[in-house]
């Protein structure tokens, strides 16, 4: 009766060691997305229904910052970082080299989440309200309030 028991014991021991060995990756290897960016899509209002459009030379930077996030870049949608030290972030968006720029203001609440020891913390956001100027932007639509590490489209801008 003991022989099959001992065989089972050895087999399970080896399986168990393998299981335990595979559990240590989360300290050294970050396998989840740590990017929590607001997704903004650009849409054309002249068509019914409106469809997404390409801004041919869009320039975007955060208000108060000198460095641009996009410079004369051709984009249908962009993902932008919100200020994690503030509850409000404003972006300057110029659709092309000749048109007037608009400013959009995003007001939100912040919560931090520990993804894993290797990935560390990230900030998740919940958008409370959005405001915009209307030099080129016709209207703005808040599509998804929550911003986490899935990076979906949160705001639709209609030109």
């Amino acid at each position: 009766m003991l022989t099959p028991f001992r065989y089972l014991f050895l087999l399970s021991f080896l399986t168990g060691i393998n299981t335990i060995s595979s559990c240590n990756n989360d300290i050294t290897l970050c396998e989840s997305s740590t990017s929590t960016l607001i997704g903004i899509g650009f849409y054309q209002m002249n068509f019914n229904p409106p469809f997404d459009t390409i801004l041919p030379a869009v320039t975007i930077f955060g208000l108060g910052k000198i460095d641009s996030l996009f410079a004369k870049s051709s984009e249908t949608n962009v993902h932008l970082p919100l200020n994690q030290n503030s509850d409000t972030t404003s972006f300057y968006i110029q659709p092309d080299t000749t048109g007037l720029a608009d400013t959009i203001q995003i007001i939100y609440t912040r919560t931090i989440h520990l993804i894993s020891p290797a990935c560390g913390f990230v900030t998740f956001y919940n958008i409370d309200s959005i405001n915009t100027t209307h030099h080129n932007i016709d209207s703005i639509y808040l599509e998804t309030k929550t911003i986490n590490n899935t990076n979906v489209e949160n705001i639709q801008l209609f030109y």
């Binding site: 299981t19 559990c23 919560t111 020891p117």
Partner: protein
């Protein structure tokens, strides 16, 4: 006090004799079996950021039924500075029963193949003494989360074997599947490890235990074969 103890022992002996009524005659040893999980030091060697200890005690209470209590503790330290410096410490207990599925040829065979269940509970304290969220555009975020307590309760099913390698000395393994029933985990900071359960970021956990046991046979009961009358032809 002694009268109560004597009464308890008498009832236990009676119950054991009733339970073993259909078995062979002989001497059955009953006692507390103490166990130490040797897989925890191996786990600590493979994962130097954590330290775990786990002990158990069980005793046969009815034929094929074993009452079991398990307990232990965990300490975890993660120094992934500046991203995260984390510390947690806590303890746990589990109580439940195992049922032996192995049919014994004689009453001196103590090997077991068992299935069982447990109810587990853990308390821990943890903190993130410092963390940093990198942001190259707006600037890094630095912060800390002070020490706070977490409690968790879970249900688990277990299956395994125990073999008597030497007299009263057992070795065995078990596999466990745990389901978290209740906890007050803060979504900001999930525990790295819930002691006795597993990783704190999951609602279920699978585990393997390898244990060494020693049984202290404080009770020896002699059993006799029951005489049964022959059917009338």
């Amino acid at each position: 006090m002694w009268k109560i103890f004597n009464c308890f022992i008498s009832i236990l002996i009676l119950a054991i004799r009733i339970c073993h009524g259909q078995q062979d005659s002989g001497e059955v040893k009953y006692g507390l079996r103490f166990g130490y999980d040797i897989s925890r030091p191996i786990l600590d060697y493979l994962q130097p950021n954590r330290r775990d200890e786990e002990f158990s005690v069980d005793m046969q209470v009815r034929q094929n039924w074993f009452a079991i209590a398990e307990g232990g503790w965990n300490n975890s330290k993660i120094n992934n500075s500046p991203k995260l410096v984390y510390h947690s410490s806590g303890y746990f207990w589990r109580i439940g029963f195992d049922y032996n599925l192995l049919k014994h040829d004689n009453i001196n065979d103590n090997n077991l193949i068992y299935g069982g269940f447990r109810l587990g509970h853990a308390n821990l304290s943890h903190s993130a003494s410092s963390f940093q969220i990198a942001d190259i555009y707006w600037g890094n975020v630095n912060g800390s989360i002070p020490l706070h307590d977490v409690a968790a309760t879970w249900f688990e099913i277990a299956a395994g074997i125990k073999i008597e390698a030497l007299k009263n000395f057992f070795i065995g393994w078990s596999v466990r599947e745990r389901i978290l029933l209740n906890s007050n985990i803060n979504s900001q900071l999930t525990p790295y490890v819930i002691p006795g359960f597993g990783k704190g970021n999951s609602k279920s956990a699978f585990d393997v235990n390898y244990s060494l046991y020693y049984r202290i046979p404080f009770l020896r009961i002699k059993l006799k074969t029951k005489k049964t009358s022959s059917p009338i032809k």
